[in-house]
Symmetry: C2
Subunit: 338 residues, 2 copies
């Protein structure tokens, strides 16, 4: 892998128009990222089998043995977050306070416990188990989308303490919000502008170009593709996209879920090997619900290994400085052998 | 100080329209913030007196003793960053790569070394010294703004390793960019929308309301005010604003600089006392340069103590979850006695 210095570049994210500085002045080889591997400590854990009464009651579970709800025997278990960022009860009550605007923090906040095994990470699980996790996310999205107060459901994962995980037992989260998040609105705006101009989906065009040049391609599976985005904000930021246009994650079939699980495991294993099991976040960007549903959108999953610190410049400008060109990250991940 | 649980609220930033979740479910008292105070280690430092040849040559310095450039004797010293995010030489050369857009990473990246004393922090310095630092920022902004390739100059500070500082010797940075950063554009857009509707500056209106209710007021000095913003993204996020409308930081007089230094020291001492010397970032938001200059804007300085981890939900949504209501942060900072 070549990782020499080259002049800095300013690259524009084609979807939301955010500029990113690709600057190799302080570039590092993958092995230079001083990642502190976070060994799981164990100890009491409310997500472990036997402690089902230490969480709010389950709203969904996959149980192959006909065991009763809120007892052991589950493979994947979904519960409300015990310390939710938003709460389910009540009305929105939009109102003013002088020149300011506010509303009640209505929403839902759920946790998908990915495995009964405290010490396994998502990347360690067998593909069929990962499929069940994404299937649980889909089931919960469909159920929550029936609540007309909710405009959006964001699924995300914080893996590792420095990526914001407060419990080490592997889990994914869902937050349903009464407004469409700003980041998603920006993407939809970009998608629509491009569509008006080209009459094509910009994500589909990005996929076509990445498949053609292969410069930023990580892996190309039958139904899904993994790429390093052209204007990656972070080193080894990786996007997984369905190759065929679809705006809703929830439209996924059970067969698709197996394909998705396969590529997620493939990519996480590559990131773990290249970067020595880094902490990471992933987020699923899907269409808003109901009246704001957006068929022009193209759902995708963004993985962000936690390698750099976001500091004053980023907070102040909305600019990001990425020391690893995505072409180098892609080459590194692509060339790994297992 | 009362810090009890209350239902979560969604609050809208009146300037850029970003929604924030104020959620006290996981709220903490200031003393619960588990801040690891970062003791300075010393050792070799390129910013220390005697090592002037270990940095690029100085572009500005305050020397009271008529000492020669790039020797000891300075009080404040400005040099180019040895590992710049952007480079000064060359043309922008905007171009396409298929559907993508990029340009050369042209810009300037300078470091303001705030004191010869390795072990002092900005908050420890006497007010006249802090004045000279902000005066140096102003002088460099004025000089860099003569370069017509630059559209914006962002001044910012990373204090402490976990706030992104790579050298512990206290310093502020300047980055001149060939495009106006997204975050600043969003603020200007908001300011203009409000102006079109109300024919008043929204920052001036915010100041008026905060002075009237005093709920989020930290300190009120003669020329500057410090408040906790209504839709604060982070616990103890604090904004310093000139009380009288002005869009350009660089318009500050030498007298103003003393007033600014006074309130900056006051606020940093309060944050240090309340939060046990937290790592922090600050950023100065001023008007863009040249053809994008915006007289409707109102310059200000944002201080962000580094207390929470930004995780998947924030990256995916652009939403922030703030566990400390700004009213409680303001009350805490206001009520401190020294």
């Amino acid at each position: 892998m070549v990782n020499g210095k080259r002049p800095p570049e300013l690259r524009k994210d084609p979807i939301i128009g955010r500029w990113v500085i690709i600057s190799t002045e302080r570039s590092k080889r993958p092995t230079d990222w001083n990642v502190d591997e976070e060994k799981k400590k164990g100890g009491f854990c409310p997500f472990c089998p036997g402690n089902e009464d230490k969480t709010p009651p389950e709203v969904y579970a996959i149980r192959s043995d006909n065991s009763a709800a809120n007892t052991q025997g589950w493979k994947v278990r979904v519960v409300s977050n015990k310390f939710p960022a938003l709460q389910v009860e009540g009305e929105l009550n939009r109102r003013g306070e002088g020149i300011f605007d506010l509303m009640n923090g209505i929403g839902a906040h759920e946790v998908i416990i990915e495995t009964p095994d405290h010490f396994l990470d998502l990347a360690d699980l067998p593909v069929p188990q990962i499929r069940e996790i994404f299937w649980a996310v889909r089931e919960r999205m469909i159920d929550l989308s029936k609540d007309e107060r909710f405009k959006y459901i964001l699924a995300f994962k914080n893996n590792g303490v420095s990526a914001g995980a407060s419990l080490e037992h592997s889990h994914t989260q869902l937050i349903a919000t009464p407004i469409v998040p700003k980041r998603v609105l920006e993407e939809i705006q970009g998608v629509r502008q491009y569509y008006q101009y080209k009459e094509r989906c910009i994500f589909c065009d990005v996929i076509r170009q990445e498949l053609q040049t292969e410069k930023r391609l990580v892996v190309n599976h039958r139904e899904y593709i993994a790429i390093e985005p052209f204007a990656a904000r972070f080193p080894f930021e990786t996007w997984l996209l369905p190759k065929y246009h679809n705006h809703r994650f929830e439209d996924m079939t059970y067969d698709d879920a197996l394909e998705l699980a396969t590529i997620v495991k493939d990519v996480l294993k590559r990131l773990n090997k290249a970067l020595e099991t880094p902490p990471y976040n992933f987020i699923i960007h899907t269409s808003p619900l109901l009246d704001q549903e957006s068929p022009e959108y193209h759902w995708h999953l963004e993985i962000i290994p936690k390698l750099t610190k976001v500091a004053g410049f980023e907070w102040g400008s909305g600019f990001y400085i990425n020391p690893t060109p995505p072409e180098i990250a892609a080459e590194t991940l692509r060339d790994l052998s297992f």
